[in-house]
């Protein structure tokens, strides 16, 4: 059967093969255990590091492969086929790494990017707070200059890889009167004085990833840890998210592919009323809908990622579309997969139950899908005002 041809280069196909091999050999055999025990996947992170995938998007002079958003998406999709909790840990390192790559000084890049590219140190991105979720301008963490240091105070919430990562890119307010323009980004390292972690959160799914508070209590960091300029924090966060969001779309696609594979496999072998249930039109139409929306999501995500790599600016709208469409699809497909497996689908001994629990986060993190709609709507308003 002919599949859609996305015209991958030989190198891109290598990345796909390598990430799929990791998913098959290293992730799938242990994913249920990691989920059950809320276990952080250090072994798999080391495997991914050894396979060189942490360095995909990082320039060659820092030990990376100088690939783009698209190649990162290809890797994410294949890893997500195995487990999106594991993949989120991998993806969070890029989310935390991009601000350094995009806005870091030469000195900061030389200091941090080689370790990020080799996977020696994980990175985390700290924006969200208890009172600043969708409204990131409501950040209450503050940063004040004190001689040769910055002093940070406040608490970040629900930070992926909290406690496990060693490098944190954090947004704090330097001038509350200026609103979003008064936010500044910093690099904080595990071990900095006054920097600690809250308890590990218990979640609905995504259990193999670590989610904690970051607590800054008179946290003193050297002056040269500021990222970009004073007041650029919000811009840095938004630019980072614009590049990262197609990646969430890819994770959604990989997860949905895994759920579809399970659903079709089951529907072909489950006998009811004397025949495989896939022979019933009710199921065929469900599966057809799942497969078609999945492929449409993949095509959109790939196209958006390639557009970003083409160097286009102001990609907020299309990045949001890729995230919105693919993650809503993934929630539906994983839910339908559970439905097709029926009672078995609801049992923990079959993998689709975890897939459905995990899928929900995709519609929430890196900007809720309602915020994605806002971004798209505002962009349309701007676009059409110019016409």
């Amino acid at each position: 059967m002919t599949q859609v041809n996305y015209f991958l280069t030989e190198e891109q196909q290598m990345i796909v093969d390598l990430a799929r091999q990791i998913a098959k050999e290293k992730i799938i055999p242990v994913r249920a255990r990691l989920d059950e025990n809320n276990e952080f996947p250090w072994d798999i992170m080391r495997d991914i590091a050894q396979a060189d995938l942490f360095g995909l998007y990082i320039p060659e002079q820092y030990g990376g492969f100088a690939k783009g958003c698209f190649e990162n998406c290809l890797a994410l999709e294949q890893l997500a086929y195995g487990c999106i909790a594991v993949t989120t840990t991998f993806a969070a390192s890029a989310l935390g790494g991009y601000p350094i790559l995009l806005f870091g000084s030469e000195k900061q890049k030389a200091r941090y990017l080689p370790d990020i590219a080799s996977g020696k140190r994980l990175v985390a991105f700290g924006l969200t707070e208890a009172n600043a979720g969708s409204d990131a301008a409501g950040i209450q963490t503050t940063a004040v200059e004190d001689g040769e240091h910055w002093v940070l105070n406040g608490t970040k919430q629900w930070i992926t890889s909290g406690g496990e990562a060693e490098i944190y890119t954090i947004v704090a307010m330097t001038n509350k009167n200026k609103g979003a323009r008064g936010a500044t980004a910093y690099i904080v390292e595990k071990g900095d004085p006054g920097f600690s972690f809250g308890k590990k959160e218990r979640k609905m799914g995504l259990n193999a990833s670590s989610t904690t508070e970051l607590i800054m209590n008179d946290c003193r960091i050297p002056k040269d840890r500021i990222l970009g300029r004073n007041g650029q924090g919000f811009l840095i966060a938004m630019r980072t998210l614009d590049i990262a969001r197609p990646g969430i779309g890819s994770i959604a696609v990989g997860l949905a592919q895994a759920a579809l594979d399970e659903a079709v496999k089951y529907a072909r072998q489950r006998i009811q009323f004397g025949q495989p249930i896939i022979s019933f039109q009710a199921l065929q139409h469900m599966l057809a809908d799942m497969a078609t929306n999945l492929e449409a999501s993949r095509a959109l995500v790939y196209s958006v990622a390639r557009t970003i790599d083409d160097g286009k600016k102001d990609t907020a709208k299309i990045s949001a579309m890729a995230k919105l469409f693919a993650t809503d699809m993934s929630m539906r497909v994983t839910t339908d997969a559970v439905q097709i497996l029926g009672g078995y689908g609801y049992m923990k001994s079959y993998p689709v139950e975890k897939m459905m629990r995990d899928a929900k986060i995709l519609q929430i993190y890196e900007g809720t899908n309602q915020i994605m709609c806002n971004i798209i709507g505002q962009a349309l308003n701007k676009e059409y005002a110019k016409k």
Binding site: E11, M14, L18, D47, Q50, A51
Partner: protein, 262 residues
């Protein structure tokens, strides 16, 4: 440390089918993989290279497509791959295979350690490792599941698994070992390795290139012939005993006695 790892490309046992009429394996359309034991031999070699430096050369005799197995080895970190491929090599049994491999290893130059998998999953003879050691005049140990290099970096200590337990043995390099799957967990390829593997040239050596005598290679150089292969038939019969429990026990005892089991 100069290490040579011998690998064989074999059909994936999980997907292979059997033609019952012809009595042969259906190889068309079957995925070819590196013999699983050889993966562990390669990992053992790469592990030693990581610790002590040197070079790992992977050697395989087979048809031109066995080049894929060598490229896969390069993507895992091997430095060089050499393919022994010649129509004259076809149909080789273990006698001819060990002769051919030995000639190639001699051509490669001084070697400290030759590593092989315990056996190939298609032929299952487990003769190539020991046979090759005999050809090369090297001391060897089979069924190794642990390996360490002593402080002098000339002696190796190995653990050989046998039916009753294990032996700890020391031998001086150069030497040959065949390894079990339990010796290590093979690494994954890396992207760098895959990119390198794509670019690396893999030389193909033929019989003339390794200075092999035509009478010693392939089917001509083989002492054995596969006359026929077949799937053994397996018949299970059953007998049901009736009557009371006592009668059934009596019947069972007399049947077991008649069969010479009791």
């Amino acid at each position: 440390m100069n290490i040579v790892v011998c690998i064989k490309q074999v059909p994936n046992a999980k997907t292979v089918r059997y033609d019952t009429e012809k009595g042969t394996l259906v190889r068309e359309g079957v995925e070819a993989i590196i013999n699983p034991f050889d993966f562990h031999a390669l990992e053992a070699g790469l592990h030693l290279k990581d610790a002590y430096g040197g070079e790992v050369t992977v050697l395989s005799m087979g048809p031109p497509q066995a080049e894929n197995a060598l490229r896969e080895s390069l993507s895992l970190g091997a430095d060089k791959g050499v393919l022994l491929s010649d129509r004259a090599f076809a149909g080789a049994d273990t006698l001819a295979t060990t002769y051919t491999l030995a000639k190639a290893i001699e051509k490669l130059g001084p070697v400290d350690l030759v590593l092989c998998g315990k056996q190939a999953i298609d032929g299952d003879t487990a003769q190539v490792g020991p046979g090759l050691a005999a050809r090369l005049g090297l001391p060897y140990v089979t069924c190794v599941n642990a390996l360490s290099v002593m402080d002098d970096e000339k002696t190796i200590q190995v653990r050989r698994i046998n039916e009753d337990g294990y032996d700890i043995l020391e031998l001086e390099m150069p030497a040959l070992l065949t390894v079990l799957a339990s010796i290590n967990t093979p690494r994954l390829p890396s992207l760098k390795g895959k990119m390198m593997a794509r670019k690396t040239e893999i030389p193909i050596w033929d019989a003339e290139g390794i200075g092999a005598k035509p009478s010693m290679v392939g089917l001509t150089g083989s002492a054995t012939r596969v006359v026929s292969t077949w799937v053994p038939t397996f018949e299970a019969r059953r007998e049901m005993f009736g009557g009371s429990a006592e009668e059934q026990v009596d019947a069972l005892v007399s049947r077991l006695k008649a069969a010479g089991i009791l």
